[in-house]
Symmetry: C2
Subunit: 366 residues, 2 copies
C-alpha cells in the first residue's frame, strides 16, 4: 500500500479500490476493447454508466423521486450563476448567508441577477462560526435561501439545517456531500463539485426539486437550463464522460463500504481523533467554535508562521502531503474526506505530536 | 493490438500510446505515489501538466504570442453563449454562417445577446456544401463573424478561410483541430471541444487574441470571462484536471508523430482512400460537394434505409464500430480522426466492398 497521503482540499484522495477499477476501464471497459474515454456518450455502455451513477446516488442519499439528478460541467463556481439564473423566477429576491470565501463569491455573483440580501455573515469572527438563524430571518417572498454547508477553507460546517419554511433552501455541498446522511427533502437544490468526495474534478452534481426547474431567464445561457439538462438526461451536449464514470465508481465504493451512514461513522471517528488531540494540548490551535467544526476539513495553526511553514515541509517529507492552509488564511488544513483512511489520520496525529516536541515554541509564543 | 475500431463522432479513438501513458498517470503519476486525479491543481506537478499542454499546443499550431490559450469546461455548446457574451462589445452586431446543426445552434444562441445576422446558409441543399463568401458579404461594423469549420454531422469542411477584413473571425473547430495546419493569425478566436482530436470529453480549448478579451458583458456569468480565465491561467476555479492531462498527452503524441503537418498528410491519405472508393462505385453515395468534403467525417448512404441498418450492424460485428450516421440525418458516418490508423480505414473500405456484393440492391434502388 502507498504510504503517502494527500490532505489536499481537492482534488484529493481517491479510494485505491476505485483507482484499481478505473485502471481496467481506462484500458478495456467491460471487455469492449475500448477505453471508457473512447466510447460514445450515446452508446449503451455509457448510458449504463450514467444510469447506474444516478440510481446509485439516489439510493445512497435517499433522493426522493420528485428530485432530478444532473451531472454538469463548470464546477460549483458555475452554479453561483446558474442557481440565480434558474431560480430567481418569482420575486427575484434571494437571501444569502456568507460563511466563507465561496459563499461570498456566490452572494456576489447573484447580485447580477436580482435583489440579493445578505442575511448573515460570520466574517466578524473570521468565519469561525455558523450563524444561528430561524425562519424569521428570511424574507418570506424570497425565491430561495443560499448557504454553503461546509466551508473548506475555514473548516466549518452547518451543525443544523436552517428552517426556511416554504422558501427553497439551496446548499453548496461541494466539500461534504456523501460524508453524512442528509435529508434531501429539506432542500430545494443541492450542488457539489466532484473533486472532494466524488472522484476527480470535471463534473458537478446538481440535485434539484422538480418544481424549481423550467423557469430560467430567457437571456441566460442555454447550457445553464436545468430543465433542458433534465429532459436530456444530462446529455444535451457531450458530458464529461470520464469524470461521471469515476463518480459512479466512487458511488459503488461507498455502497460497498456500507453506505453513507457507515462513511459518516468513519468520518466522525477520524474527525474526533483530530479534534480530541487538538483540544488536549496547546501547541496547535483550532479556532473554530465546537458546534461548527467540519468533519471534512480540520484547520489549525501553531501561532508562528515560521513553524507552520516547517510543519508543512516536514509533514510532506513524512508522507503527509498538501497540509498547507488555503492561501487566504495560512496555517494548516487537513482535508480528511471519505477516501482518507483512519490510519492516515492516526499517523498524522502522531506526526503532529512528535513535531511539537521537536520544535518547541519560543517563550511568549503561546 | 486491438482489432476493434470506433468510428464514433466523439468521444472517439485515443491513440494506444496515449492510453498506455495514461495508465501510468492514473496509478502513480511521475512517481508521486498519487494518481493525476488525486493531486491538487495548485501543485507543481499539475502546474507542469498545464504549462506543458499550453506550450506544446502553441508549438503544434504555431499560435502567436498575442493569443491566449484557455482550457475551459462546458463543451463547445457553452462557447455558443460565451462568445457573444465576451465579443459583442462594440456594435453588438455579429454575422453567422450556418453550415450545419451546431453552427445553427450557435447562431440561435447568439440572438439572445445582440443583432445577429444570418450571412449565408447551406440548408437549401441539406448542408452538402460550403457557401462562397467574400469580404463584401459581412457587415463592416460587425463585432465578429462566426463559422463552424468542420461539420461533423454532414461531413463538410470549409475549403478556405473567409476573408473578413478587420472583423474578427470566430471558428468552432471541435471536429478538425490539429487535423491540418491552420494560420491562427487569420482568426480572432478558435474554440474546440476535446473529444475528437484532443482526448476525452470534459475540456474545451479556447484560443483567443488578446484584444478580444476583457470586454465581457457585466451581467454575464463570471465563469465565462475569458479575461478572468486568462489572468488565472485557466484556474479561476478547479479545472478539469484529468481531461487537461489527457489533452496534454495527445499533444505530445502528435509531436512524436511529426506534428500537425504529418497528421495532415496521414489524414488526407485516409480521406482519399475513402473518397476514391466512394467515387469509384455507385452502391454507396456521398452527397457532399467535392470542394467541401471533410477529411475527418466521411458520410455515405446506400439509398435504402434497411440496407443502411444492416450495414451498421454487420460492420459492428466485423469490428468497425459506431458507423451509424447522426440521428438527424441517418445513413453512415465514418469519423476518421487523428487517432484512427490508416489500416483501419483500409479495413473499412474492404468491408464496404464485400458488403455491397453480399447485399445487392433491388432493381430500381440505384
Amino acid at each position: 500500500m502507498n504510504k503517502n497521503y494527500t490532505f489536499s482540499a481537492g482534488p484529493s484522495m481517491i479510494p485505491a479500490a476505485v483507482l484499481n477499477e478505473a485502471a481496467k476501464g481506462l484500458c478495456n471497459y467491460n471487455n469492449s476493447g475500448f477505453s471508457v474515454m473512447e466510447i460514445s456518450h450515446r452508446s449503451p455502455d455509457f448510458e449504463k454508466i450514467l444510469s447506474d451513477a444516478e440510481s446509485d446516488l439516489r439510493v445512497l442519499l435517499g433522493i426522493p423521486d420528485n428530485y432530478k439528478i444532473l451531472f454538469l460541467q463548470g464546477g460549483a463556481t458555475t452554479q453561483f450563476s446558474a442557481v440565480p439564473l434558474n431560480l430567481l423566477s418569482g420575486s427575484k429576491k434571494a437571501d444569502y448567508v456568507v460563511t466563507g470565501l465561496f459563499s461570498k463569491k456566490a452572494y456576489t455573483e447573484a447580485q447580477k441577477y436580482g435583489d440579493i440580501r445578505l442575511v448573515a455573515s460570520s466574517a466578524d469572527k473570521n468565519f469561525t462560526y455558523i450563524p444561528k438563524l430561524s425562519r424569521d430571518d428570511f424574507r418570506p417572498d424570497a425565491d430561495y435561501v443560499h448557504i454553503c454547508f461546509n466551508n473548506t477553507i475555514y473548516g466549518t460546517k452547518w451543525g443544523y439545517i436552517p428552517d426556511t419554511g416554504d422558501i427553497p433552501l439551496v446548499a453548496d455541498m461541494s466539500s461534504c456531500i456523501l460524508s453524512e446522511p442528509i435529508d434531501v427533502s429539506k432542500f430545494g437544490l443541492i450542488y457539489a463539485g466532484a473533486q472532494k468526495n466524488m472522484g476527480p474534478s470535471g463534473v458537478t452534481l446538481v440535485i434539484v426539486r422538480d418544481d424549481l426547474i423550467g423557469h430560467m431567464r430567457e437571456d441566460a445561457p442555454t447550457i445553464f437550463d436545468y430543465k433542458l439538462m433534465a429532459d436530456n438526461n444530462s446529455m444535451y451536449n457531450t458530458p464529461p464522460c470520464w469524470s461521471i464514470y469515476m463518480a459512479g465508481l466512487v458511488y459503488k465504493w461507498v455502497i460497498s463500504m456500507g453506505g453513507v451512514s457507515a462513511m459518516s461513522e468513519l468520518n466522525h471517528k477520524k474527525a474526533k481523533l483530530m479534534y480530541d488531540y487538538l483540544d488536549s494540548q496547546d501547541y496547535y490551535i483550532n479556532n473554530v467554535q465546537p458546534d461548527a467544526r467540519s468533519i471534512m476539513n480540520v484547520t489549525f495553526v501553531t501561532g508562528d508562521p515560521e513553524i507552520d511553514k516547517a510543519f508543512v515541509k516536514e509533514a510532506s517529507e513524512a508522507g503527509f502531503k498538501s497540509l498547507k492552509g488555503h492561501r487566504s488564511v495560512g496555517g494548516m488544513r487537513a482535508s480528511i474526506y471519505n477516501a482518507m483512511p483512519y490510519e492516515a489520520v492516526e499517523g498524522l496525529v502522531e506526526f503532529m505530536d512528535a513535531f511539537s516536541k521537536k520544535h518547541p515554541k519560543k517563550e511568549g509564543d503561546r
